[in-house]
Structures are given as structure tokens and as C-alpha cells.
Subunit: 579 residues, 2 copies
């Protein structure tokens, strides 16, 4: 792939000599800088022939004959525009496209080399060029490959080793062989971690706990807001609580600040961190020091980025504590099923690839600025916040992976709430305001299986599905009415995903679907879905302000006069405690 | 105001004769239909002179000299573009506008008669023309007016009456004078209600429980998902649990379905609904029948719509149960403070009006398709879902209140998560992807006041604020960099709201700010912010599908062959329980 020419040493063997690797790295950096300085057209989505063809197609397609109410009635529409594989159904029959457009979209994927890049990713190539790293979240649940070498390290071996440690540790907790300082066994765990160190884990925990009674209840403490901490300590018994500190670098500001609260809390309860603290962090980080007072440290790796890390120790430790390692393993199996599908299925049958192409079609050609994710399932209520991070942090870029400013739409806004709740919230706008595509998600069988009442002749779960089906249909078809207030324009696109149930396998497939879709979309858009330089500026500016606050903490007479009026105003309020 | 000419009988006295009122209603409907049939230009935002002036201003304003990094450095920027009133601060100094634009925006508000319409609303005029109703959420916390007459009924008297009933009832619960069937006092309450019957209440409950220990723990059961029910009954003791059923019509499908589960649950636990059930509903609805088996019924009124109803019995019953009526009363006082400000402050000092104008400026002139709401406060985590409904259901319209199709942008997408969490989630896109305006919210004093650790020389709450200040600054200023990947374009607008604390008064002000801003925006955009015809189509279509399901529940051989392929596919899965 031309866009990866920036790595002049793709052959692993060549780079085995340490000195050469250093030179290679410097040369790659030089090429990268040079590529940008020269304003070189390394990758440009609209240079692809297929992209050029799609532009006029999208204009002519806006003809009213292509209103969704007509499209969905064309012959074999559902059959030709939906795929069912491995107990996962993806229905895009209510998207605003036809076979001609779909054919060009597949062509776009081929011209962008999407599948080849995905394959390179899975095999450990340095796909995250800006950070000079592999992107091997798929290796965290790879039951097919025996070995993946990255910088002389066998990734599969290392991951298996960590998983064995997680299994041993969590079994000891469950069998009450490891107990707290006062000899009591553990009932709760507080997960201290932010962003990718908690959103995916929280999604999976919320989804699974409907069907599997947690052995250990999890609580999430991401925010540096002291009231986040204050609320959690109200609900736990300090003697029976573990604290899991998750940070790759072990320097994340929020996580370290909350760790310090946790340490003070343990101390004030006369509990020893050596009996209550666990870390998930990179090998050699400050959190990995064996002289630390903790129950132990589980390694995470730089080839798995935060938002892709729920199948690593980041999710592995808390989820195995909650549900047992075997259930975590089942979850990994589900992810792997989807990974293999994403890797091997041809473009025309590849669910995450098609879903990525539809996103690109909707954003770059039909100009929709957002995508709503609406699971008709309360257990999936944390899916949207997770995908929001996964997608918006991966694709919310202004620059291609080759360092060129983008001349096309990149990631869009992701938002959503569970249905039917969302129907009673923002679906007014979905039907009659500025349109946006929607992704409906249904779960065929709910967890609750006790006797239950019917209403209007149907069970609650049936009512739920009746609504999900009706919404997709109503958005597509619309309704004419002489009264403008009761007129529904329709032609509002949606997809519908169905999984069988809330088992770890199904949740794994859903998670891996969104991961694969995101990276496919990134590859086709020419972006690096694994870096996040856009979060850096805020960190730098916060440091300056923190230093100001620190000065006043030390010297009460310090008065912020050197600062701009707005900043001074806010810091004065902060110290005064009110306006 | 010309747009309300549709009500030809604004004078209450005239309509006191019942017969005349009927004729008036029919005539209003005739006029409404006729107005639309004739395609009459009753109201058109772009017909306003100020709107016409703003269009060219918005174009010339896009000049790079007006980059926010320059604007925020102009003299007196913060002083002139921020307002502090009643312990509420609204800072719009980082919005992309100047004094000339602001002046025209105020002119737009005047030409649209925004303040007059607000005043009519507060005094009980039939402002919700399409549904022929007043919109009197402000009356639910009006401690100034002695009487508001609507259709011969004194609204203030009726509201006070209901509030006294709520006070008496909840005090009896707290004093253990009312107990469950088995003689145990109540510890929990499940709120069954969806959309406006729960989102506002959930927001306020979540916000207040940080600072006030609940006397009764609330649980929310909005969704018809049986697993929503299944999870809640795991966490409560049936003997000590109240069920609060909230539905104006007492026919809401989801609410009735969940009521039926609750009744079965009570029965299977040998508990009498007469001791465990409370209803909040309209006078005379099926839920208001005194022969029903329940502890009683509290009235809600058709002049307060769901999404504006948290200060009525909809919030009053559950929130008084949770925190005591006195705290609910304090919350109402906070709302009233903001209502009076919204009603009385001149345009130039009117916080919700200015905030509404800024939304209109951002959507209609600067073309932003969304607004993110980012409270730097975990306790406010349910604010965004509430405002999402309030705003998107009120303003997500394609038609003016006079029945004309809109030729301007109406409501935009609202989404958000608490900061700093959001920084580690989607702020990558906020800084470097397609821009959208952000509303930051800070709380000057947190609830937690026990001893705590510092990190890097600052307390957690200080770290939180350092980040909030830094993000607004970074988004505005941006940062140049020769490396495109590290370049921040800046010029991304934000506002910052600060409230003093998490007391009921402050939360009340925040709630009423969003309500007033929403209706102001609706009035200026020419929309009716109180109807929601866009939710009807889905209901109708769901009825058809429900009937199909019901037929198969009765007759297992029924096979859906009359349906379209997609619907048949989903109903087959639903009955099979898997793909």
C-alpha cells in the first residue's frame, strides 16, 4: 500500500539488528516530516477513481424517485441489502443507496486497500505510523495465530502470559485465598481509569451483569471530580473492596489524583494497599514497580491503544473479577469470531467493512453530520458512550495518516440513548427536524425469563421490538399529510443490527464489530485511527493553570493578576467557592 | 404578536361562556387549517429585518481576523460578553460574535417579540396553539402571582393544592405513618414513567443525592425492555418499595406495560397495590379513579407538557419522597428565581435569551449542526439526557407554529458527557475534527468536604477546573504547528456556565435556565416548543406490528406472510429467539 511507504523497513527480519532499527526509526521520522513539508500528495481520498464516480452518483441519487419509501419496495431489497453471519445480522436495506452505489463503494474500499491494511494490522505491521507502533487489539483474542512478532517480542506469548496471571489472581480472589487486610473476602472493586481505561469495560460490565450475577461488583471512578470519589465510597465497605488502577503510563493526571484519594482512604481505614490495590499498566511504568505496596501488576502493551483495550488486561482484570475468567474468555471468543469475519470475508459480505462504507457514504456524500446509536436494550446503555470514544477519537481528525490536511469529511458525531426511551426524547427531531442516520440494535432474547404480564396482547420484549421495527420503517417511509405539522418527510436512513442475546460471545461480537468498522473507516478515509494528538493541547494548557492554582495553594496572597480576565475570574471563584 | 393571531379570543373573559368557547375552538382550528392551505406567510424568520442583516454579517465575520484567538484578546471582552446574576454566571466571551452581531441578535429577538411571548406564556395565554393549550410550567413554581386563570380554573390554586397533598403524603411516608402491606416502612421507590415523566426527575435526583442523603432511594423504570424491570427488582425489597406510576393520559404504552409487571410482581409477593402504588396523572384519567387499588393519585395538568414537568407533581412526588418536600420547595424557589430573571431582565442582560440567540447564531449563521453540553461535575451527568429531550423534542421541528414549513435551521443535535471524561473520549474530534459549539458547566463548590489528598500540588476539584478553563481556551485559541498532526485550528466556540453548588436552589436555576432558553429559542425561530407531532407516526406503525405479534401469540400457526420481507424477518427472529 502506497500510504504505508513511510515505513521503509516492513520486513521484520531486517530490523532485528538493534542499531539498524534506530537508524530505521530516524529515517522514517525524516520521511514523515519531509512528506509533510513538501505538501506531497501521499494520500487523498478524492483522488481515488471510485470517489470521483461516487460524487455525481450522490447528486443524481437525491432525485425523489430514490426516496427510501420507493427503494425499500424494490425487488429483493432486504435479501440484497442485509447480511447474517455467525449469529450477527446487519440490515442496511433502509440506507439511501442502490447496487450501483454499493458497487462503487466496494471499489473505493479496494482502491484504498482496506482489506490489505486490515490484514497487515492483524499480523503486527507498524500500522500506527505517527506513533511508530503496531495496533494489535485483535491479538488480545487471537486463538488462530501461534506467534506474532513485534520488535522481537512474541505478542501472543506475552498476552497469554498476562491472561494466565489474570486467571490465577481472580480465581484466588473468588476462592477467598486472597483477602483484605482484616481477613474479609472481597465483594467490590473500584476501577480507577479514564477514557479507554474504563469506557469499554463499563459497557461490557453493564451488558453482562444482566445475565451473569457479578461475583464482585464493579464501580467506576474515571473523573477527577471529588464527588465522583465521594459517591463511590458511600456505597462500598472499605474492608471488602479492591482498587484497580488502570493507566498505561501510570502518569494520567486524573488516575493518579484518584489513586492518591484511594491511598488516603485505605490509610484512614487502617487498610494496607498491599492487600487492596491492583495495577494494570505498562511493563516498567511507575505502577509496575515490584516494591510498590500492591497485590500485583498486570501488563498492558503499547501496541494496544486505550480505546481498543477492553480485551486486554484493561478489561481482563475487572471483568474476570466480576464474572470469572471463563466468562471473560467466552467474551474474547466472540470478539475473535468477528475479527476473523472482518479479516476474511470478501468486501461484498464483510459486515464491518460495509458498515464503514455506509458511514462514509452518509457523511461524505449525503452530508449527514452525525450518527445515532439506539440499542433497544437497556443492558446496552453504555455501548454508545464507548463507541462515541472509539469512533470520535479514532476518526475525529483533520489530517491523514501521511500528515496531509484532509479535504473530505472525517469522523462525525456519535450520540444515542436506548430505545424506546429515545423515542420519547429526541425522536421528534429525528422524524421532523434535520435528519441524521440511525443505527438500531436489537437483542433477540432478553435475559429475564420469569413469568410476566402481557399488555395489549404482547410481552414487553415484543412491544420493544414492535417499536424498533416501526421506527426504522417510519423514518424511511414518512407520511403525507395536508397538515404540515403532521407531515413526515421520511427518507431518513437507518441500519438495524441484531445479536442473539446478552451472552459474553454476543457482546464480544458487538464490541469487535465496532472496532473493525472504525478501523476500516479510518483506513478508507486515509486516517490513522490509532493516534490522538488532538487531546494534547488541553493537557498543556491545564498544566499552566494548575501551576497557578498550586502557587496560590502555597501562598494565599497570590492574586492571578498576570492572567487574562476570564481565567482570573474563574480562579477567583474557585478559591472563593462561589460567585 | 401576529403569530398568535390564530387565537382570536385572547381575552379570557370572553370565553367564559361555555358555548362560545366551543365555537372559538372550532374557529381557531378552521383558521389554522386555512392558514396552511393558503400557504400564507404567517411567520418567516428570514423576513425579519434583523435576520436579513445578520446573513451578510455572518459571511464577513468568517474573515480570519475574527478568529477567536483575536476576539478574546479585545478590550473588555470578558466583561462585555458575560453576565453574572443571582449566583449564576454565563460567559459567552468565547463565542464567535462581536458587538455589532450581538446588537442585531437582540434586534431579532425584539422583532420576533420574544419577551412579549414569554410574558404571555407566564400569564397563561394559549401559547401552545396547535394543541390549544397554555404552557404554564412556570406556574408550578410561581411564588409571585396570586392567581392565573385558564379556562376558568385558577392554576395557582390547583398547583398549591397538589403540592399540599404531596407534602402531606410524603411526610406520612417519612414519619412511617404509611407503611407497606407487611407493616414495614418504605426504603425505595420505583418511578415508572418515560420521556418527560422521568428524564427531568432523574437529572434532579442524581444531582441532589450527592449533597442530600435520600430518605427513599429512587429507581427509574422507563423502558418497556423487560430487562430494565428485571434489573430493578434485583435491587429492591418488595415489602419496602413504593411504585410511582407517572403518565398524564395513563395510556402510555411503555408505562402501562411496566405497571402490569409491577402489579404481577406485587401479587406474586402477596403485597397489596393499595399499600404500594401511587399515581401521578391527569384528573379523570384511568389512573385517577378513586376505586383503583392505590395509595392515591396526584394530579398533573395539560398546561404543563412532559418535558417541562419536573417542577409539577411529576418531579414533586418522587423528589419529595427522596429528599423531603422542603428540599423540593427549595428547588422550586431556584427555578422561580431564574423564571423572574428570564421574564424581567432586558434583552441585553437576559441570560437564557442571550443563550438562545447564540444557539440561533451558531446553527443558522455559522452552520454548526450540534451543541455539546459538558458539565465538569459527575453529579450533573443526567443533565445532558434531560436537555437533549427538552431541546430536541421542543425545537426539532420542520414547521412553524403557524403551520408553515421552515426555511431555516430549527433545533440541532444535543449530546455530551461530563468532563474531564469527555476530554478522554470525543474531544479529539472537538479539537481537530468537524467543529461544534460546547457549553461548559462548572460548579464552584463540590459536595465532598472531608480531608483529601492533593496531586501535583492541587486538589481534585481544582484539577477539574483547571481542565475546564484550559479546554475552553484551547478550543478558542488553537495552536500552530509545522506538523499538521499537531496543528490545532482553534476558533471553536464555547460558553461557560457556573453555578455555586449542588443545592436544590442552584439545580433549580440550572433547570429553569434550560427551559427558558429552549422556549426563547422556539419563540424566535417561530416554532411551537410545546407540541411533538413527530412522535406520532412511530406509535401508529408500532400498533400495526403489535397486532401482528398479538395474532401469533394467540395462533402459533400464524406466519406473517402478509408483511414485507424485512418485518417478517424480524418477527420470525423475535419468536424464534435467535437468528
Amino acid at each position: 500500500m502506497s500510504r504505508y511507504f513511510l515505513n521503509p523497513f516492513p520486513n521484520q527480519a531486517l530490523t532485528e539488528i538493534i542499531g539498524l532499527r534506530m537508524i530505521a526509526k530516524a529515517f522514517r521520522q525524516f520521511l514523515f516530516q519531509w512528506g509533510m513539508t513538501m505538501g506531497q500528495k501521499i494520500f487523498n481520498l478524492s483522488n481515488h477513481q471510485a470517489f470521483q464516480k461516487l460524487k455525481p452518483l450522490s447528486k443524481s441519487f437525491k432525485d425523489k424517485n430514490n426516496h427510501l419509501k420507493n427503494l425499500i419496495q424494490t425487488k429483493n431489497r432486504f435479501k440484497d441489502f442485509s447480511i447474517q453471519k455467525h449469529g450477527f445480522s446487519y440490515d442496511f436495506s433502509k440506507q439511501r443507496l442502490d447496487k450501483t452505489i454499493l458497487k462503487e463503494l466496494f471499489e473505493l474500499a479496494r482502491q484504498a486497500g482496506a482489506k490489505e491494511t486490515f490484514s497487515q494490522m492483524v499480523s503486527g505491521k507498524i500500522i500506527n505510523a505517527t506513533e511508530n507502533r503496531s495496533a494489535l487489539h485483535t491479538a488480545a483474542r487471537d486463538f488462530t495465530q501461534d506467534q506474532i512478532l513485534v520488535n522481537d517480542m512474541d505478542v501472543i506469548f506475552e498476552i497469554n502470559k498476562v491472561n494466565k496471571e489474570i486467571k490465577n489472581f481472580t480465581e484466588k480472589i473468588h476462592k477467598k485465598k486472597i483477602k483484605g487486610t482484616t481477613g474479609k473476602s472481597f465483594t467490590d472493586a473500584v476501577v480507577i481509569g479514564i477514557g479507554g481505561s474504563y469506557l469499554g469495560c463499563e459497557f461490557v460490565y453493564t451488558a453482562l451483569k444482566h445475565g451473569i450475577e457479578p461475583l464482585i461488583d464493579l464501580h467506576f471512578l474515571p473523573n477527577v471530580d471529588i464527588d465522583n470519589f465521594g459517591q463511590i465510597i458511600k456505597t462500598i465497605n472499605p474492608e471488602t473492596c479492591l482498587w484497580i488502577i488502570i493507566s498505561k503510563s501510570y502518569t494520567t493526571i486524573e488516575t493518579m489524583a484518584n489513586l492518591n484519594q484511594a491511598l488516603l482512604f485505605l490509610k484512614s481505614n487502617n487498610l494496607d494497599p498491599a492487600n487492596h490495590l491492583v495495577t494494570v499498566t505498562a511493563k516498567g511504568s511507575p505502577g509496575d514497580d515490584p516494591t510498590n505496596s500492591s497485590l500485583g501488576s498486570f501488563h498492558m502493551f503499547d501496541f494496544i491503544g486505550g480505546r481498543y483495550s477492553v480485551t486486554s488486561a484493561v478489561g481482563g482484570v475487572p471483568l474476570s473479577l466480576a464474572f470469572g475468567f471463563d466468562n471473560f474468555h467466552r467474551f474474547l471468543k466472540g470478539c475473535h469470531t468477528m475479527d476473523l469475519h472482518a479479516l476474511n470475508a470478501p468486501e461484498e459480505n464483510n459486515i464491518p467493512l460495509i458498515a464503514a462504507l455506509i458511514n462514509i457514504w452518509n457523511s461524505n456524500f449525503l452530508d449527514y453530520p452525525a450518527l445515532a446509536i439506539i440499542p433497544y436494550c437497556t443492558a446496552l446503555s453504555n455501548l454508545c458512550p464507548h463507541v462515541q470514544q472509539l469512533y470520535m477519537e479514532s476518526l475525529g481528525k483533520g489530517v491523514t495518516s501521511a500528515g496531509k490536511s484532509t479535504n473530505h469529511r472525517t469522523g462525525v458525531i456519535i450520540f444515542g440513548e436506548p430505545g424506546t426511551n429515545a423515542q420519547h426524547s429526541f425522536f421528534q427531531l429525528a422524524h421532523q427536524g434535520s435528519p441524521f442516520p440511525i443505527e438500531f440494535i436489537g437483542v433477540a432474547t432478553p435475559v429475564y425469563n420469569k413469568s410476566q404480564a402481557t399488555s395489549k396482547g404482547v410481552y414487553n420484549h415484543q412491544e420493544l421490538w414492535a417499536n424498533m421495527i416501526a421506527q426504522a420503517m417510519g423514518l424511511a417511509k414518512g407520511k403525507d399529510d395536508d397538515n404540515n405539522a403532521k407531515y413526515f418527510p421520511g427518507n431518513r436512513p437507518s441500519s438495524t443490527i441484531v445479536i442473539n442475546d446478552l451472552t459474553p460471545e454476543s457482546i464480544g461480537m458487538l464490541l469487535a464489530f465496532y472496532e473493525a468498522r472504525t478501523v476500516y473507516e479510518g483506513f478508507i478515509l486515509g486516517l490513522n485511527p490509532f493516534d490522538q494528538f488532538g487531546v494534547e493541547l488541553g493537557k498543556v494548557l491545564a498544566t499552566d493553570i494548575r501551576d497557578q492554582i498550586k502557587r496560590k495553594n502555597i501562598d494565599k496572597t497570590y492574586d492571578f493578576t498576570s492572567l487574562d480576565t476570564a481565567t482570573k475570574f474563574y480562579l477567583d471563584i474557585l478559591f472563593k467557592g462561589s460567585l
